[in-house]
Symmetry: C3
Subunit: 348 residues, 3 copies
């Protein structure tokens, strides 16, 4: 693909400064710019790179003021970062054109699908599955019986979705994610043995959710594990049975949520965080990496540590944790001094 | 499926109070009860829900005493929770009826199998594999050469079992689990390079083991990594080479056990726990979430922290960790007061 | 397979003491030796086992001096451990003889490959893929469009490699690893919603890299995520977008590296470590298990704790963390004593 500055400016409704006919065929960061590529400048910290970048075109904000001569052709737009993101969308749409049914795919005769779907080789579509319009199922993905998948959802290769789960529209699920495996439910029996409690619920994933590689979301014991609208989960995350994650909450890699915990909306949860089961986490909660959450959390709290406390308290305490040997020395010195004082005061 | 209260009472050997002809077609929690479903009441904390539940039938313990009028039909049994679990077993058996060999499956001609097996599409059964009676191999599962799988074991879609491993009877292995990949063994070479040490052992999984989604169990360098009878492993767990896990030990998600560590029986290990290699962990040990185990542990210990200490000691220390800034202030005050005292005692 | 002591000694250029015709058909640890197997003795701590081992042959260092009678035939070599590792290599080469194209594999007509490759059943080779000589692609592995794989690389079953990634020569990638899924990139939008930032870069894996089961390595937003020569990654590791890992760095299981962090060469990183994004980690850095890295690290540092500090400082502080209740008691006692002293000095 190749575009001129004019074509891009027309698409973005931007204004050109420089050569409208210069062509680009790829995108780069401004600090790593190359000829025939387009970059963007949004963060003023990176402004210094624009004077030397080798990018042929740079997207800038309308109010950007150059302090020196610039070789690149500029395209001025309202929001350079958002415009650049739109260009990336366009770019990806043009290289990702998977369509049709590849050979060696298994589609049960009772399955139904909308228009313009892609089903890759070795994909498995079970009984009574419903695929919406423009759904893409990459190779080696397993869609269990009765699963429903909404319009415009992409499921990459090697995903496993157990029976009865529901996936919304505009979702992206990455390779190796497991949706709807059994929750970890066992009841103690005699002789220290355990009896498996059958997990007969499902997983419901609402619209515009993205799920990272090798993330696991267990089905509910009864009822549903629910991932609400706009949630973004990174890789290798564990979501236990009957968990509910509120809308637009984001979660970094390797975090684990134990069974039946409910998380509010608009939370930001760092990597390698662990949460115990049966908790209620409020809205707009922020949790630092590696934090351990053992009790319910109110709206808007910002937490760190294992077990978690307020982030500033943790940081303050940690400063003194590092000084503990010196604190201990001081206590020992004070003890000695007190003993000396005592001796002086209490004559033998 | 639909059952009457009478049919269920007969199956469970329970006594009916109410309409024996009322029908149910699903199960629910008592607090989320719906018409035409059956619930159970075992934990007295939930007793308040029985008077308003919309469930058509509720299983209760024989000694349950109602304090108010109840609309639902009751079935009295010795142990309502266990009876409910039996009903779930029955329910699952009826919806999971996978049998036979689906098209596009690959079964090496030297493989042998018992009766009533299921081999899904795109399943791969290698050379000299032996599958017991009633084994279910879901789609996209890879069974390497010489693997043996016992009777009544279910392996869900997308599992990978490397050559020479042995899986017992009545096991359940969830999607994405990797059994028998190489242990992490490298010997330093000149020039900071590493030489791979071939991992020629295997993994032995005994009977009645459940393994969660995307859990990885490495093969032994030599000999066997062994998961003993009745062990339950949650999702995304890492088991290193030559580890042995004792019978009926349970382990929550995202825990990692380094190579050659031996864990006793009846242990309960929380999520995101890490253990160093070459340790010996006793029987009936309990380990809290996110704990780091760096040395061997005696029978019956209960541990928390990184590095781990006795759970009560950790909790007590953590109380003072949170108060460290105040402790430090107090030390500084005491220092000041001692200086003042000194001045008073030692005249200038 | 079966070999005589003489055949093995010839292969290893070693000297035989004992019966040159004794035969072995397997390898064992010296402490678990069995008849017709070969063991080795390198670590003096294990010397006591050589006098009673049932192994038929033991490899020993040239300078080993027996203190008692030994039943086994000895083969003396310069370095018993390295010689044993060579024997394991030989052993594995003989049992792993996968070659050719199995039925039900999908190879796009535009893909190109070198000689002596193995493509297992249900493997998927996308458009314009290039496979080097002696490459082995096990069943259920997905190789996306335009991927290049170097000579002598083995990719086990169920691996997913997204389009445009490059894998070097002599690499080993274990089952369930995901190479090149989207990095976790979202820009805040109005109404607390997020806009996905397309990830259009790739992953470059250089030569002699080993990647463990279910490890995930995300593609770069733009440019490349790079795993350099000789890096060894254990299982269930998360590598974020645009991360660079320097040559010969090794990383234990369940560690996570956030986006854009650069790690130097020859580092040793323990299990369950977490690193924030956009950091620079020096060369020859050592990081203990479960450590949390929140800032850049200089060459050669050895770190522990969350947040990380020098390992000795952490260990020293942790000693006093465990004694915090006693430290607090002492402070309270000192306070009391000072109050008493004050009373004595300052008469009422």
């Amino acid at each position: 693909m190749e575009f001129t500055a004019k074509q891009i400016a027309d698409f973005l409704k931007g204004d050109i400064e420089g050569n409208p006919d210069v062509k680009v065929n790829n995108v780069t960061k401004i600090e790593e710019g190359k000829s025939e590529t387009i970059s963007f400048l949004a963060n003023p910290k990176y402004a210094k790179y624009i004077y030397n970048t080798k990018s042929s075109i740079v997207l800038v904000n309308k109010d950007f003021q150059a302090e020196k001569n610039i070789n690149a052709t500029l395209i001025r737009v309202d929001n350079a970062y958002q415009s650049f993101a739109s260009l990336l969308d366009l770019y990806v749409q043009q290289i990702e054109v998977k369509k049709g049914i590849e050979k060696f795919s298994f589609i049960d005769e009772t399955a139904k699908s909308g228009k313009d779907i892609y089903v890759g080789a070795f994909a498995y579509i079970g009984k009574n599955v419903k695929l919406g319009d423009n759904v893409k199922i990459y190779p080696h993905t397993y869609i269990g019986d009765n699963v429903v998948i909404g319009n415009n959802t992409t499921i990459y290769s090697g995903v496993n979705i157990y029976r009865d789960c529901k996936i919304g529209a505009h979702c992206t699920i990455h390779s190796g994610a497991i949706i709807g495996a059994d929750g970890f439910g066992f009841a103690p029996k005699a002789h220290d043995d355990y009896k498996k409690i059958q997990q007969i619920g499902n997983v419901i994933i609402e619209d515009s959710v993205e799920i990272g590689s090798n993330t696991t979301i267990d089905r509910a014991t009864m009822g549903s594990t629910i991932i609400k609208h706009g949630v973004k989960l990174d890789n290798l995350i564990q979501i236990g049975h009957n968990v509910i994650i509120g809308q637009h909450t984001v979660m970094a890699a390797q975090t684990g949520i134990s069974g039946s915990t409910k998380i509010g909306k608009d939370c930001m949860i760092g990597g390698q965080v662990g949460m115990a089961g049966h908790l209620t986490i409020g809205n707009e909660v922020k949790i630092g990496a590696q934090t351990g959450i053992g009790s319910s959390i109110k709206d808007g709290e910002i937490l760190l540590g294992s077990p978690a406390i307020n982030i500033r308290d943790y940081q303050r305490s940690y400063i003194f944790f590092k000084r503990l040997p010196q604190m201990n020395n001081k206590i020992n010195e004070l003890e000695k001094e007190i003993a000396e004082l005592k001796e002086k005061i209490t004559p033998a």
